[in-house]
């Protein structure tokens, strides 16, 4: 990894003036690679993603030693600079297209809007770019789909639209927050393959947030395991089996296997000490 796209050092997100730390001293760097963040609900993985874009919910406080995207210091950037970063240089795909697309705006227009916001193009050109992008996410009849409303398309198609909207501006970082969790299992791998293809072609850095270990293992280069707001372990994706932390081992043991003899799955036993131990710095 030569080029650092994102450097995060000691990132903390808290509510109630530092009382409740939902992200607690997280450090990692991202190059042009696919980095998975895995953890259970409430482990702070989504908050980490939103913190990078500085789009935390009201009442949340963000602190960090360093939050650097190439030449831009995301900690000191003002709201105007952040708006220029969002969508253009760092994008984010949300979980469920049923909620993340605006129900009363045509899907093509939603893609074209992203284009118009960041590239100096006419409305006509933006619309053409949107149609091209719809074709790029393998939607058949992109011109027809352009004029549809979100309720008229399926979940898988909605997520394709979301991907198109977030990649149309050719960002250098894509944060994918559980992009396939709301989809049917059959559609999941389709979307993932599509995302993989697009991402490899444009060679961008991806933060892939998920709770699905199998998915992350297939898709990512490296994996960060989060627990209670901290990174407990960082590994290469193909070396997940060598995990040492009992939490990671527990997660792995809780995944059913098709070809293994059927036994009762192991239940995760949590050690309160995990919450005390200092977080791991991911390289």
């Amino acid at each position: 990894m030569q080029e650092k796209l994102l450097e995060v050092e000691d990132l903390t997100v808290s509510f109630g003036r530092g009382k409740f730390r939902v992200v607690d001293g997280v450090s990692f760097t991202l190059g042009r690679e696919k980095l998975g963040i895995v953890g259970e609900s409430g482990s702070g993985k989504s908050m980490t993603g939103k913190a990078v874009l500085r789009l935390l919910p009201g009442g949340a406080t963000l602190e960090a030693k360093r939050l650097q995207h190439q030449e831009v210091d995301l900690l000191t950037a003002d709201e105007r600079q952040m708006r220029d970063i969002r969508g253009r240089r760092i994008s984010m795909i949300l979980q469920d297209p049923k909620y993340s697309l605006n129900p009363v705006v045509r899907v093509g227009e939603q893609i074209a809007e992203a284009c118009r916001l960041h590239q100096h193009v006419s409305g006509q050109e933006a619309a053409e770019r949107a149609v091209e992008m719809l074709a790029a996410v393998q939607i058949r009849e992109p011109k027809r789909v352009f004029d549809l409303y979100p309720h008229e398309i399926s979940g898988g198609m909605g997520q394709r639209v979301m991907i198109a909207m977030m990649l149309v501006t050719e960002p250098s970082i894509l944060i994918a927050d559980e992009p396939t969790s709301a989809l049917d299992v059959t559609v999941r791998y389709e979307i993932l393959q599509l995302l993989d293809g697009l991402v490899s072609r444009s060679n961008l850095g991806v933060v892939f947030i998920s709770h699905d270990l199998n998915l992350v293992r297939r898709f990512c280069d490296r994996v960060i395991i989060m627990y209670a707001g901290r990174i407990v372990e960082a590994l290469a994706a193909d070396r997940l089996e060598d995990a040492e932390h009992p939490y990671t081992r527990g997660l792995l043991a809780a995944v059913p296997r098709i070809h293994a003899p059927r036994r009762r799955l192991q239940v995760l036993t949590r050690d309160p000490l995990w919450m005390e131990a200092p977080g791991v710095r991911a390289p």
């Binding site: 874009l53 789009l55 708006r83 220029d84 970063i85 969002r86 969508g87 253009r88 994008s91 984010m92 949300l94 469920d96 909620y99 993340s100 697309l101 605006n102 129900p103 009363v104 705006v105 809007e113 992203a114 916001l117 960041h118 058949r140 009849e141 409303y149 309720h151 979301m162 909207m165 977030m166």
Partner: protein
Amino acid sequence: MTFPSGTETAGRYAAYGRRANNGARLLGSVLATLFGLLVLTFVIGRVLPADPVIAILGDDYDPAAYQRVFLELGLDQPLYVQFGIYIKNILTGDLGNAVITGRPVIQDILRVFPATMELATISLLIAVLVGVPLGVIAAVNRDRLPDHIIRVVTLLGFSAPVFWLGLMGLVVFYAHLGWVAGSGRLSLFYLDLVPYRTGLILLDSLLAGEMDVFWDALNHLVLPASILGYASMAYIARMTRSFMLAQMNQEYILTARIKGCSPNAVIWKHAFKNIRVQLLTIVALTYGGLVDGAVLIETVFAWPGFGQYMVGALTFGDMNAVLGCVLLIGIIFVGLNLLSDALYRVFDPRTK
């Protein structure tokens, strides 16, 4: 996906069929509502102790004449026959004669209604043009100073009685400050100066090119319309605020912000677009409420409109006039509901 053309045509016909079906259902429900309204007004007319014969003849009537009128009105017939006559009369535009004016009720209503329409419409304009932006501002600045101020202002408008506000308004702006004209629609000097075309003086004076009359009418209108509009503005602002708050928590707002939309674009292009339908319902109902809510303000401002006419009719026990008014208000509400229903389809793609 490409469908064979046969399937596509079939699909299109199904859509037409659905639309026609919806139209039929809508028409059916409108007719049923209007029928219910007629039953109501008819029953009220028969149940109330006011004797329709005496209403026509006056208190010192001649018994022979009483008998004749009694038969003429069909009051000896069974109720369902009477109801049939009532429906027939209404369908032919005959609402009976008003005792207080001695003219057909329908003529009276047509004469006084434009004054109320003018007042209510300007009030609604004020209410919407002020209320909607205030509601949005309050929602965007939730729990901060602008929100608190707007909430207090709207709470006042919501809870202060409109006739009291009217009186206070007259005392302050007319009697003390002299900023606006007093009661009535026009100063005496300008009465009957412009030809009657629509009955809306603002429009009539413009059509006649009489700017003096226009300004005088506006001067008279601005205070009652503002006060009447204030209460509706308060309602619209509060509803807008809560609709907007519900939208601002939606996930697609986060999407818009991730895209890099400016706060204004997030609010107006994304959130506001989603509350238009709900807002429309509120505005339509408010308009109906303004027409009948004009009763109090018309009394305070001696506004020669529908509300004053109805109060007069009620005071004299003139049942034909009162029931005519009630019927009209009912029809206005049904009509506005129908209108907002039609506009839904324009603003919300999901209802197509």
